[in-house]
Amino acid sequence: MKRRLFVASTVSSALAACAPIGTALNGNSGFHNLLGSAQALNHALIDTHGMAKEYTERDISSEFPIDSLPTPSDANYTALLKSGFRDYKLIVDGAVQRRGVFPLAMLERMCNETQITRHDCVEGWSVVAKWSGIRLSAILDLVGPRSDARSVVFHCLDKDDQGTPYYESLDLHQARHPQTILAMRMNNRPLPPDHGGPVRLKVPTQLGYKSAKWIGRIEVVGSFANIYAGGGGYWEDQGYEWYAGI
């Protein structure tokens, strides 16, 4: 009986030690990087090969959580909002042959792509909404990425409470996926400010944090290693995976 008690207490203390040991290992940068290596495997295997499931109008969720950094409230955005985004211009520059400046009216005229897709948040919840806009590939075709271009970085108008701006990035392959769109309309209405109006990204083949809201500027780059903390996105800089297909 004593032996059983001994083994039982050994097993239970080993289990109870699991969380503290894990927490301690989590702080070790070498181990932390090792854990992150699964991302490369997942990216290589899954990538953006598939087409996200398209839903019907009937499937549209009645509520879409507003789960992002706060809607911008700076003078610039407030002025844009007041004018009904009449003065909004999307700038596309960086490693491109022709720098592009797209006023909202022009983007709206180009709007020819609609999708009803599911938005899967990294937290675990899912909602379906209808989005209309332009394929990002159409914009890229207009500006012509140079041969050294590898990634597309989205600079956003929202900032966290420390003043750090939101940004995201995709590789050219993900950016040219036919379902990767710049959305100007949501559920048959102009994209509301809280959902990223006037222009947001929708990447239905990856988790929600990739679908950046309030896009101000798109920068085509060879590498995003020197942009902000180098992770390729606001959440990526805080430890989330750059490849968010899983």
């Binding site: 032996r3 059983r4 083994v7 039982a8 097993v11 289990l15 109870a16 699991c18 969380a19 503290p20 894990g22 927490t23 989590n26 932390h32 090792l34 854990l35 992150g36 290596s37 699964a38 991302q39 495997l41 997942n42 899954i46 990538d47 953006t48 090969h49 598939g50 087409m51 996200a52 499931k53 499937d59 969720s61 599911r118 899967d120 948040c121 990294v122 937290e123 675990g124 919840w125 899912s126 909602v127 379906v128 239905p204 083949t205 990856q206 988790l207 959440w235 805080q238 430890g239 989330y240 995976e241 297909g245 899983i246």
Partner: protein
């Protein structure tokens, strides 16, 4: 073979994968609960829908934790909903810090641990499966129709309602039933439902998510399969502790097992 005789019971692949799984299972459960904490509810539907909510762990007011299962709410302060925040205090948090990796709330790192050890568990599982199938040892573990009449006599033996266990092979009929359920149902379900949560994989294979009833439903099955595997782990550990713990532990470390009366080999 008779009781007291020593046999070489576990091949090195079985022993190695067994202990890798112990580690991977502990990490996957605790990092999985960390991930669950970011959206502490489970819906039997494709998209998030409170009308189809099966489980919700919440903190409806400061200092109170509740758990709602199929519409029935229980106060679970300290255990679920309002718990140890992993930093020495208490906070609105579904599963407590002592059971999550990392202990404090950190979805990004929880995912890091989970997605890494998911690969370890899958690769280890496939390697073991191939090795066991090639050696033919897999068939000792799978429940056959002829084992079914022996299930109750074996249970009766464990309950001390019967003096001797029914005669059986290397594993008794209850062990075979448990192993078969884990190998054929729980392991595939927990792997496939985990994979079905990936929007990238869903885009490649819609039917995978569909057969589980949609994405949130897959999340629910993933959780249910975890609970069932914890159940298996508890019964398994109880059996090891009560059926000659040192002999069992020695066998899973060195491979050599001393036959016991419960092995149905006679005195």
């Amino acid at each position: 073979m008779k009781a007291g005789e020593r046999i070489y019971r576990y091949a090195v692949a079985t022993r190695a994968s067994h202990w890798v799984w112990v580690l991977a299972f502990a990490v996957l459960v605790s990092s999985g609960l960390q991930i669950f904490n970011a959206a502490p509810f489970l819906d039997a539907s494709d998209t998030t829908n409170p009308a189809h909510r099966v489980l919700e762990i919440a903190s409806p007011s400061d200092g109170v934790g509740t758990t709602t299962i199929a519409g029935h709410t229980f106060v679970t302060t300290g255990w679920l909903g309002y718990t140890d925040d992993g930093m020495g205090g208490r906070a609105p948090r579904a599963f407590p810090g002592w059971i999550t990796i990392p202990a404090y709330q950190d979805l990004a790192d929880g995912r890091r641990w989970h997605l890494f050890f998911a690969w370890i568990a899958i690769v280890c599982g496939l390697a073991w499966l191939i090795s066991a199938a090639m050696k033919g040892s897999l068939q000792n573990m799978i429940l056959r129709p002829s084992d079914i009449p022996k299930l109750w006599p074996m249970q009766a033996y464990y309950l001390k309602l019967r003096k001797d266990p029914p005669p059986h092979g290397i594993y008794n009929p209850l062990q075979k039933a448990a192993y078969t359920f884990v190998l054929v149902v729980l392991a595939p379900v927990i792997v496939l439902t985990g994979i079905a949560l990936s929007p990238g994989i869903d885009a490649i294979a819609h039917p995978l998510t569909w057969i589980f009833g949609g994405r949130q439903f897959a999340r629910l099955w993933h959780f249910v399969a975890m609970v069932a595997l914890i159940g298996f782990f508890l019964v398994h550990t109880f059996q090891v502790l009560t059926q000659g713990v040192l002999n069992q532990m020695n066998a899973m470390i060195t491979g050599w097992y001393r036959l016991d009366k419960s092995d149905g080999v006679g005195p």
